[in-house]
Amino acid sequence: MVNNVCVLGAGSTKYGKLSESVIELGLDAAKNAIDSAGITPKDIQAGYISNVFGFADKQVHMAPVLMSNLGIPHVPGLTIESACGSGSVMFREAYANVAAGFYDCVLAVGVEKITHAGTTLSTTLFSYCSDFFYEGGNGASFPGLFASIARSYLTTYKATEEDLAHVAVKNHENGLLNPKAHIRKKITVDDVMNSPVVASPLKIYDCCPFSDGASAVILCTEEFAKKVGKNYMKVIGSGRGGSPAAVQSREDITTIPSTIIAAKQAYNMAGVTPKDIDFAEVHDCFTIAEIIDIEDLGFFEKGTGGVAAREGITRRNGEIPINPSGGLKSKGHPIGATGIGQVVEVFEQFTGAAGERTVKDAEIAMTHNFGATGASAAVHIFQKV
């Protein structure tokens, strides 16, 4: 690699049920990131956009539309889709192009607009992210796929539905401190346990919401960042991995191979181990996902993620804070934006912009985001400067 890569600016819209169009959301986040970086659009040499359901808001080929409205129509743009992992997969491509020396400064925007489609249509559209011939086509929804993973986990290990509930309670507690979170509501284990079943054994508070929203960051070389003179953080590790697309084809349903592969690459590149990570933003689309993530990322032994949640080890003031932003569970899950939103959280944490949810003395942090049931994943590690 030619260049060290940094994140120089970051910004998000609020996540939730929003009235703006998918393009307006993307532009709002892009402007926030550009202003935060202290640059102008003329400094941007390429644009990377992540989105999944643009067609639901009558807009595909989104990158040139965004670049045109930023006043830089001649700057090349690329739109990337990798289901719920689109943002982090796109971040990796932006990172790789700056690291390789093609560009000094690029814009990365993740955006999604889906809530206007309603629950049944959204559930159907999301099912297209599965291996449809075997899963969506046989009646599986995404809550259903993760519920089948949860049932397998609860059957295999000494974990309970209450352990899953502790993940939801913790992430809602963090999301209360995030002004941009979709669901800012304190909940209890009893609230989760008594909430309606969505797909057994998962209940509504085990599931993230459908969200609209956008997040954006500016990636650049360290030389460029130093010239601008604003706060920045370094990208010190980047990994990508894959898993069999269909749950049925996995040797062990209670683990996500793409996470393990991506994390190993990122740890090796950064020269750190799980013990060096001060906090992590992980893919908690469902509570069971966070429990599996924190095991696959090496923070906990297999089968003990539920204990970690129950004992508060992953709370904001715990041994390894997980999802201080509120995670997908509370902050929300606009699927094209989520991976970039995680990077925005790390940037805000490292630049003194996280307010009450700041993780004390954090210097190295991780983002982990996957597509579908983990068929694709990306892990990044960042260092405070």
């Binding site: 049944t120 011939f133 899963e135 009646g139 599986a140 397998s152 797909a199 057994s200 349903i253």
Partner: protein
């Protein structure tokens, strides 16, 4: 439209006979579902087609409150992952009539009933 015999069509035809169609790699012997183009073990693409009885044990399942479009006409069903009895592979399908997890304990036996154009690989519970 020109009609070709696709991997999906062959899988569906076999399922309609209550069986699961698989590929057996002629190089390394690994067995995988018939929709694979290359062996996930050795990356060769020379396969022997093998039909296995569509009977297996439930590995995991879920019952959903909100179903995707096309399944909202079914009152209650389970989406099931099952391990084939006579092959080292798993498949997944749609099992109507399951209302609670107690109706389908892990390890229950299910068998392939057929392939429904609307609901995909359709299963039925087999009482032993």
């Amino acid at each position: 439209m020109e009609k070709h015999s696709s991997t999906h069509e062959r899988f569906i035809q076999t399922a309609n006979n209550g069986k699961i169609l698989a590929n057996k790699c002629k190089n390394c012997g690994k067995i995988m579902l018939e929709t694979m183009y290359y062996c996930s073990g050795c990356s060769k693409s020379d396969f022997e087609l093998v039909e296995f009885p569509g009977i297996g044990t439930v590995v995991t399942h879920t019952i959903q409150a909100v179903a995707p479009e096309g399944f909202d006409d079914i009152k209650s069903y389970a989406w099931v992952v099952f391990k084939l009895k006579d092959a080292p592979i798993s498949a997944s399908g749609f099992l109507p009539g399951i209302k609670t997890p107690a109706d389908l304990p892990i390890g229950s036996t299910v068998k392939v009933k057929g392939y429904d154009t609307k609901h995909g690989l359709t299963l039925e519970k087999q009482d032993l």
